[in-house]
């Protein structure tokens, strides 16, 4: 029996990583194909995000900065869509911009999908896509002084001063809040440091799960009024907004894959200690 166990642990210790890959693939595929739809509660940072937008009066103008690229779309695109859904449902005017070049077409697609197809909003009157601007923090500081000067033309090449929704908008003082969907840098941290702490405007953020832990101090200090962290944050937010998007759809696969990784950690350590805890370099 003991010899058999040692053999098993040795086999586990030298397991081909491709077998691990197969487990992970199945952990994602099977729940997507056969969803269970476990219910879940909403956490305070997500509640703060939703409630702040919910408190906006109809007709207010909000800046939505879509600072991400296809690499983080599964986590952030569902947030982007849900944010637009809540804003358009409340008849809030949306001014969209991007600090990441690859965010431009993604944001345009989200605006068309939600704004035009779902809510039949009019471009220029209910929302505008200012497009991408290079410069990261410099763009943020520049917008704090003058937004039309920073973005003389929108994504479609129209003069910003001639766009109805931009009338009366000079800088951040003319906006009700800023919502940042962030895939990394430049993103939430830069908006907090350069804009929120300097111009004291309400700022809410949706970010990847990798970044979320480091933004909890900003939520606790009040520099962020709300925080959506990763796909779970997107799912919680979708629940509040009342949509069934990829966020909620992916939760079962997320649950199973996390359990699989947890089991890997446990089994790996059991095998390691059962074999005497030898140190060796591994190619992971």
């Amino acid at each position: 029996m003991k010899v058999t166990l040692i053999k098993i642990f040795k086999a586990l210790d030298t397991l081909d990583r491709r077998i691990i890959f197969v487990f992970i693939a199945l952990a994602v595929i099977i729940p997507l194909e056969f969803p269970v739809n476990f219910d879940f509660s909403v956490t305070a940072p997500v509640r703060g995000f939703y409630d702040t937008i919910d408190s906006l009066p109809s007709g207010s103008k909000v800046l939505v900065s879509c600072d991400y690229d296809p690499g983080s779309m599964p986590e952030l695109y569902p947030m982007n869509l849900s944010v637009l859904q809540q804003l358009f449902k409340k008849n809030v005017k949306v001014i969209c911009m991007q600090l990441w070049p690859a965010g431009s077409p993604i944001a345009e697609r989200a605006l068309n999908q939600v704004g035009i197809e779902e809510y039949h909003k009019k471009y220029g009157e209910d929302f505008v896509n200012l497009g991408f601007k290079e410069g990261r923090e410099v763009v943020m500081v520049s917008m704090g002084n003058n937004i039309p000067q920073t973005f003389p033309r929108d994504y479609h090449g129209n003069k910003v001063e001639e766009i109805p929704v931009m009338h009366g908008v000079t800088n951040f003082k003319d906006l009700a809040m800023i919502i940042n969907i962030s895939g990394g840098m430049p993103g939430t941290k830069e908006w907090v440091l350069q804009v929120q702490s300097r111009f004291h405007i309400r700022l809410a953020s949706g970010c990847t799960a990798v970044s979320a832990p480091e933004f909890y101090p900003y939520f606790q200090s009040g520099q962020l009024v709300g925080l959506l962290g990763g796909m779970k944050g997107a799912a919680e937010y979708e629940k509040l907004v009342g949509v069934q998007g990829l966020g909620r759809r992916g939760m079962d696969a997320q649950s199973v894959s996390h359990l699989v990784v947890f089991l890997f950690i446990i089994v790996g350590n059991i095998a390691y200690f059962a074999l005497g805890g030898k140190k060796k370099r591994l190619n992971v």
Binding site: R18, F21, I24, A25, V28, I29, L32, E33, P35, G71, S72, M73, P74, E75, P101, A102, S104, G131, F132, K133, E134, E137, V138, V141, F151, P152, R153, Y155, G157, E190, V192, L193, Q194, Q196, S197, R198, T208, A209, V210, A212, P213, E214, P217, Q220, S221, G222, Q223, G229, G230, M231, K232, L246, R249, G250, A253, Q254, S257, H258, V261
Partner: protein
């Protein structure tokens, strides 16, 4: 008639599978997709800069006769600074590119000092000045833990003094808080990576094969 969207979905699926082939082992198909991606992403960025910065912020205002000449001429300065960057390709005059680099570095250094000073330093310290005696025992406990955690973690990062004795013990407590934070970060990182895979599998099974319910 096959639509461009259908062709696009098949192209996307094939490219996705080419990259996933790396999981078996490095192979020419993966290398092809990898190099194609690098080329396309680099070229994509240039086109975006042209349409979103060069044209609206420089070229059009420079050639817009409705703007007074005195307001247009200063734009030649960033144009020249931008072109000076390309002197890096010519060894004899590459020192000129330092002027443009110095401008960028100086601006970002100035912005960073203000941003980090107000946003991360002052406001974060202020946010941790919490009462450790309140009406609710849990709030008091949490505030105490936040205070102790911050101070001990900061002490850990003070390497000018050897971590011995009471100082060392305090730094050790700081390590425990740091380990908790790294563990939380690892947990969230796992969540993030799995989400990205969920997104791709959703595309393959849903949009491409159409077998998701």
């Amino acid at each position: 008639m096959i639509s461009t969207e259908l062709i696009g979905i098949w192209v996307s699926a094939v490219l996705t599978l080419l990259i996933f082939s790396f999981l078996y082992k490095d192979n020419p198909f993966y290398k092809f997709a990898e190099h194609l991606f690098v080329g396309i992403s680099a070229g994509y960025g240039v086109a975006l800069e042209y349409h979103n910065v060069f044209l609206p912020n420089l070229w059009r205002p420079l050639n817009d006769v409705s703007i007074p000449l005195a307001n247009r001429l200063p734009l030649l300065l960033p144009f020249v600074f931008g072109l000076l960057l390309f002197t890096r390709f010519f060894e004899k005059i590459s020192w000129l590119s330092r002027w443009s680099l110095a401008l960028i570095i100086g601006i970002f250094a100035g912005i960073a000092i203000i941003g980090y000073g107000s946003g991360d330093l002052v406001l974060q310290i202020h946010a941790n000045l919490l009462p450790i005696w309140t009406d609710k025992w849990l709030t008091s406990f949490n505030n105490l833990l936040l205070t102790v955690g911050l101070i001990t973690s900061l002490i850990y990062f003070f390497f000018s003094k050897e971590h011995k004795g009471a100082f060392g013990a305090t730094a050790r407590v700081g390590i425990w808080f740091l380990m908790i934070s790294f563990g939380a970060s690892f947990g969230y990182t796992v969540m993030s990576r799995m989400s990205l895979l969920i997104g791709r599998v959703y595309f393959l099974l849903g949009e491409w094969l159409g077998i998701l319910k």
